[in-house]
């Protein structure tokens, strides 16, 4: 049984003419101890999806099923809040700059009504150890730390309540290349030790490739392709995934991939065309794409894509 199952999830901001459908019917599952990478360009709805999964935003439609239980009653909610945690993009902004690290880390447990100070203390030491920061960091404040160290504290805070799922929203985007590598390695080693699952949201495809077991590609509020990581990168199926991957600059001087340059820009979510939302930038577009919304369908090899040209 999957740890998290999301069924036909919708999130629309605003009403009437100004309604912005940020997430438009997403289905996905995450297993225990698995990393699902969620990639897409700015405005595709990946952050909104992550925030809805964590519960920072209320879905406007669809279902979230966690560990077999649908998320409704209040009791389920409280337990869910402990078991699903989040790490944000900008550590400096997501940490309280007036709090010492020790206070930042003890807060989640105090909110969860863990009263025993010794227990909290022991947990802080354990988690700091886990993220590679020793007890000397306990009395420090965020401004005394580098960006990479701050992100380690943010990860430590998310781990405090011993969650089963951590939603990481662009956790390495504000960090340097060499620091990024360390944070990815850190997340993987934590996963091995704790069997925690990650929803890893990023626009940085090479980082996702290094951490994810499976990858979901999002475009304008829908998942257009989902498959195991290597299959997505080696043999993408959806025309958008192909263009996206081909646009990533690589360091290889001799094997320059043929770039697929997408014409124009992503259409505005307030003014979506009928049918497939990728139609105006797609090289494989035909009449059916202009009238009917394709659905995420399984291909013979078990991968999933949302494109008439691929699934037909």
């Amino acid at each position: 049984m999957a740890l998290l199952e999301v069924r036909d999830l919708h999130k629309t901001f605003g009403h009437g003419h100004n309604a912005v459908p940020a997430v438009r019917g997403v289905d996905l599952t995450i297993d225990h101890g698995e990393t699902l990478g969620l990639v897409g360009e700015s405005g595709c709805g990946k952050t909104t999806l992550g925030r809805v999964v964590v519960g920072l935003q209320e879905a406007t439609g669809g279902e979230i099923i966690f560990d077999g239980e649908p998320l409704d009653g209040r009791l389920a909610r409280a337990e869910y809040r402990r078991r699903v945690q989040m790490v944000f993009q900008h550590p400096a902004q997501s940490l309280n700059r007036r709090m010492k690290i020790v206070t930042t880390l003890s807060e989640p447990l105090r909110l969860l009504k863990v009263a025993d100070p010794d227990e909290i203390d022991a947990r802080i030491d354990e988690v700091l150890q886990l993220v590679g920061l020793g007890p000397i960091y306990r009395p420090r404040r965020p401004r005394q730390l580098s960006g990479g160290q701050q992100q380690r504290v943010a990860i430590a805070r998310a781990l405090m309540p011993n969650p089963d799922l951590v939603v990481l929203d662009e956790p390495t985007s504000s960090l340097d290349q060499s620091v990024r590598g360390r944070i990815i390695a850190l997340l993987r080693s934590i996963q091995r030790e704790r069997d925690v699952a990650y929803l890893f949201i990023s626009h940085d495809l090479s980082t996702v490739r290094r951490i994810a077991d499976r990858v979901a590609v999002m475009y304008l509020g829908r998942i257009v392709e989902m498959a195991p990581t290597e299959e997505i990168f080696e043999d993408p199926q959806h025309p958008y995934t192909k263009a996206l991957l081909s646009a990533v600059p690589t360091m290889d001087l001799d094997h320059r991939a043929q770039r697929i340059i997408l014409e124009g820009e992503t259409p505005s979510p307030t003014d979506l065309p009928t049918g497939c939302s990728f139609q105006d930038r797609c090289s494989l577009v035909h009449d059916r794409c202009r009238v009917e919304q394709p659905l995420l369908e399984s291909l013979p090899d078990g991968r999933m894509a949302e494109c008439f040209a691929v699934t037909a």
Partner: protein, 316 residues
């Protein structure tokens, strides 16, 4: 003689002996894209600001030469660079922040033309629309009447490029021009910059932290760390035959399995010697001093004492 020659730029905070940039030098040829790569805090943006004469208040240029087509641009009185928009212009990382939010973008470009090329207002307006069309903006006349907040990030960066090119500069400095953009838009901007270089023959100093972008865009590359130039050479030389321990470390960090428990250290700007010294796996006594650039191959130089003749015999 190179189009742009920068030598020995040394920059520091006023009333503070520490140096932020130490004897930074590089050259850019006509029609060439020179990459400047390094992590945050390596001094790549500070170098570009020094070259442009745009150092922030409180930061002083202590030493250095900037010559464009053989002409010295450093003002002997202030020690700072003075240049015109037809000599060097710059585009920045966050295009929307670099544009004036209260002025229509067409007007902003026209102002540049009025001030720098003495064009009358109506002609400047028409030229501004032409320039927008030139950078691949569909419906240029309509976009010229828009305010920056009405345009996407990719569009704003095209507007910035249009403005930078309006005066037909000899040198374009692009400081992380696509870092704030999505990869598919980044690919469009890269193609645009390459096309414009081929067309106008201007030289580009292309600053980025992304080694993939360097590989895609540049003819030559200069690697910086801690305010000093570590290595410089042709793209192929530096990428296939890196000599400096820092360059090797940087390339490895993309793929390497690192020990996740080791916490990264900051650059120590008080160091007198090589600023990579305390992190360098090959460091030895000589690294307490500042290493010069050694010629390691044709058109390939590296700033490390390992290349000094006597050490290079027993060096790892």
């Amino acid at each position: 003689m190179s189009l742009l020659e920068v030598a020995d730029i040394t920059v520091g905070v006023k009333h503070n002996p520490q140096t932020l940039l130490r004897e930074v030098g590089l050259t850019v040829e006509p029609g060439e894209i020179m990459g400047l790569v390094g992590e945050s805090g390596s001094g790549k943006t500070m170098s570009s600001l020094a070259i442009m004469g745009l150092l922030p208040a409180g930061i002083e240029m202590r030493k250095g030469n900037v010559t464009l087509e053989g002409r010295d641009l450093v003002d002997p009185e202030t020690g700072e660079v003075s240049r015109t928009a037809s000599e060097m212009t710059m585009i920045f990382q966050h295009p929307r922040d670099a544009l004036n939010p209260t002025m229509r973008v067409g007007r902003q470009i026209a102002r540049v033309l009025e001030i720098n090329q003495d064009l009358p207002r109506s002609e400047a307006r028409n030229t501004a629309v032409d320039t927008l069309r030139h950078v691949g903006i569909p419906g240029a006349a309509r976009v010229a009447r828009a305010y920056p907040h009405q345009l996407s990030g990719g569009m704003c960066q095209r507007v910035m490029i249009a403005m930078a090119l309006a005066c037909k500069p000899r040198i374009l400095i692009a400081d992380e021009p696509t870092t704030a953009l999505d990869v598919t838009i980044q690919a469009q901007i890269f193609d645009l910059i390459k096309d414009l270089v081929a067309e106008t023959g201007c030289g580009v100093l292309f600053i980025t932290h992304d080694l993939g972008a360097i590989a895609e865009m540049c003819d030559r590359v200069t690697v910086m760390y801690g305010g000093q130039v570590m290595e410089t050479g042709t793209l192929r030389e530096v990428f296939t035959n890196p000599q400096h321990p820092y360059t090797k470390y940087l390339f490895d960090s993309v793929e390497r399995e690192v020990d996740p428990r080791v916490v990264e250290e900051d650059v120590n700007f008080a160091l007198m010697g090589c600023r990579f010294g305390h992190r360098c796996p090959s460091a030895f006594e000589a690294c307490g001093e500042f290493p010069p650039l050694y010629e390691v191959a044709e058109a390939h130089r590296s700033s490390c004492f390992l290349h000094r003749k006597e050490e290079s015999i027993g060096a790892p």
